[in-house]
């Protein structure tokens, strides 16, 4: 019935939505930033534990749609062990992929995150996918204030 949506709602997304990874609080985390998407009411709190400039642990709390939950769940998995700079580079790539400006975007280069490429066709949902990354970006840049996608 929902054949048209298979690119957007891949099985991996349903899986992360049902069983979000790193869905917990890091007590005494080094960084804690809130992300908010006023349009849909998605809210998340991102926690980072740092070792030097390496993200040693990442977790989140909050509620959102399947796309935003899967996105933040995947992100916390992927950025663990990466340096801040590596994480920022991934954000840049992820942003390029989701906004769909580059038609020749190489999906292989972004690995697991490619499951979220489907939002390109749904402009109203791009922010759901990018909220997590904007929040991470704010955390890396030490912006303590809640960030908003609007």
């Amino acid at each position: 019935m929902f054949d048209d949506l298979r690119d957007l709602y891949q099985e991996v997304i349903f899986d992360h939505n049902r069983n979000p990874r790193n869905f917990r609080i890091i007590e005494n985390s080094d960084k804690k930033v809130e992300g908010f998407n006023p349009l849909c009411g998605d809210r998340l709190t991102l926690y980072l534990q740092m070792e030097g400039d390496v993200i040693a642990d990442a977790s989140f709390q909050g509620s959102g749609c399947a796309i935003s939950t899967a996105s933040v769940s995947l992100m916390t998995e992927i950025v663990k062990g990466k340096t801040e700079q590596e994480a920022e580079e991934l954000f840049k790539k992820f942003h390029e992929m989701t906004t769909g400006k580059d038609e020749n975007f190489n999906l292989e280069a972004i690995g697991k995150l490619a499951v979220l490429a489907g939002v390109r066709e749904y402009p109203a949902r791009v922010k759901c996918a990018t909220l997590a990354w904007h929040t991470l970006d704010a955390a890396i840049k030490n912006e303590q204030q809640a960030i908003s996608t609007e």
Binding site: M1, F2, C40, S63, C65, I67
Partner: protein
């Protein structure tokens, strides 16, 4: 029209033939804005093709024709809501501007430090923020009348808030987030005992309910044309003449003056005192056409048919496991707000869209209502006179299938 013939009505709305992602459009986002009948579209084309010029200015033929049509629409609005006079019908941009107008003119002139304004916990942001701004400017206090889990105003609590400091009560006639129709006559009676004027936000009520401002005895009534099968960019502020006469103007400019020198300006009479600048002529004419169209059907018949649709949709929705209806007032208009267990409204919205079904997913510009129900957002199906039971079946089947997919 003697019987309510929904198929005939559907023929009048060209957009309803549109295919969405290859499927028949099922348009259930009418509370956000509703679609336009051919008669409204034609009225605008006709005006620009044959009768258009600026209003109230020229002696030439087109200006006279344009003015006649524009003022004719004012008379139609007056009759539609049974106002006492055309002087009481002010054209603005929308319900939002109408409320801001009252806050910044009536409010600034009459509300002072320590005074109180009452609204309810189910207001649209446009009936919250203008009052917060006024309170900031004047030092007045905003009081919120609470609602029950069912989504009804708790009338006794509301009554307790009304006191000698109350200077204005502003209440939604029908809630966009919950569908609740408020007991506005009772609210007005209580308010008037204390000599407090009442503004009714009729943005949602106007397409669903016969509104008679004299019978209601409200002091102000506001609505947006675009929710009444008419174009965007037009709204109506009704105000009792005596109140409007005493209010300072809103904006300054052309049309709202009678005489200008550099020393002083004499303001124009009602309603022009509140209509500075060239108005939205064509869309006001479109509003007139929408009212003509509605009159051929009859608001009472529309209300009866929509009540049937809502009852049908509610019953079906209640039988879906994991679906929770948000807003279960005894007296409701054709709005079905709901949440699904573990499925975010945004996902519901995208999934239904792939089936050609347009609903709204979000906070509906009523974040305090979302907070009250402890949900980030709801999905909302809102019905209009052109919707059918078959469309509701399509919606409910869609909901059941997406629950399955999400598992």
């Amino acid at each position: 029209m003697t019987v309510f013939d929904v198929q005939k009505i559907r023929q009048d709305f060209p957009i309803l033939k549109e295919k969405i992602r290859g499927k028949d459009l099922v348009y259930l986002d009418n509370a956000a804005t509703c679609q336009k009948p051919q008669a409204v579209i034609d009225s605008i084309v006709h005006l620009y093709s044959h009768d258009y010029a600026n209003v109230h200015r020229g002696v030439h033929t087109l200006s006279v024709r344009s003015t006649d049509k524009f003022e004719g629409a004012r008379t139609k609005v007056k009759e539609f809501i049974n106002a006492g006079s055309e002087k009481e019908i002010i054209f603005v941009k929308g319900a939002t501007e109408a409320i801001n107008l009252v806050a910044q003119t009536y409010g600034k002139a009459n509300i002072k430090l320590g005074d109180e304004i009452i609204i309810t916990a189910m207001e649209h942001h446009s009936n919250i923020v203008p009052w917060q701004m006024l309170c900031e400017q004047t030092g007045a206090i905003l009081k919120i009348a609470p609602i029950s889990q069912q989504g009804e105003l708790i009338f006794d609590e509301f009554k307790k808030l009304v006191n000698d400091k109350t200077k204005l009560i502003s209440v939604v006639h029908m809630s966009n987030a919950l569908g609740t129709i408020n007991p506005v006559k009772e609210i007005i009676a209580i308010a008037h005992e204390k000599g407090v004027p009442v503004l009714l936000d009729g943005a949602q009520a106007i397409p669903h309910i016969t509104v008679d401002v004299q019978e209601l005895d409200c002091d102000f009534y506001v609505f947006s044309a675009h929710k009444l099968y008419a174009p965007t960019g037009v709204g109506v502020l009704y105000g009792k003449q005596a109140l409007l006469e005493a209010m300072p103007p809103y904006q300054g400019g052309g049309d709202m003056i009678r005489k200008v020198t550099f020393e002083e300006t004499e303001y124009n009479v009602l309603p022009y005192k509140f209509e500075a600048g060239t108005p939205n002529i064509a869309d006001v004419v479109g509003l007139g056409a929408a009212i003509d169209y509605l009159n051929t059907i009859g608001m009472a018949k529309i209300a009866a048919y929509e009540a049937e649709l809502l009852a049908y949709a509610t019953e079906k929705a209640q039988s879906i496991q994991g679906l929770r209806i948000i807003g279960e007032a005894d007296h409701k208009g054709a709005i079905l707000s709901f949440v699904l267990d573990k499925i975010h409204p945004h996902d519901i919205g995208t999934m239904l869209d792939s089936l050609g079904i347009a609903i709204r997913a979000g906070h509906h510009c009523a974040m305090p209502v979302m907070d009250f129900y402890k949900v980030p957002a709801t999905a909302r199906a809102s019905f209009a006179m052109y919707n059918t039971k078959e469309e509701i079946d399509v919606l409910m089947n869609g909901i059941e299938s997406l629950i399955e997919v999400f598992g």
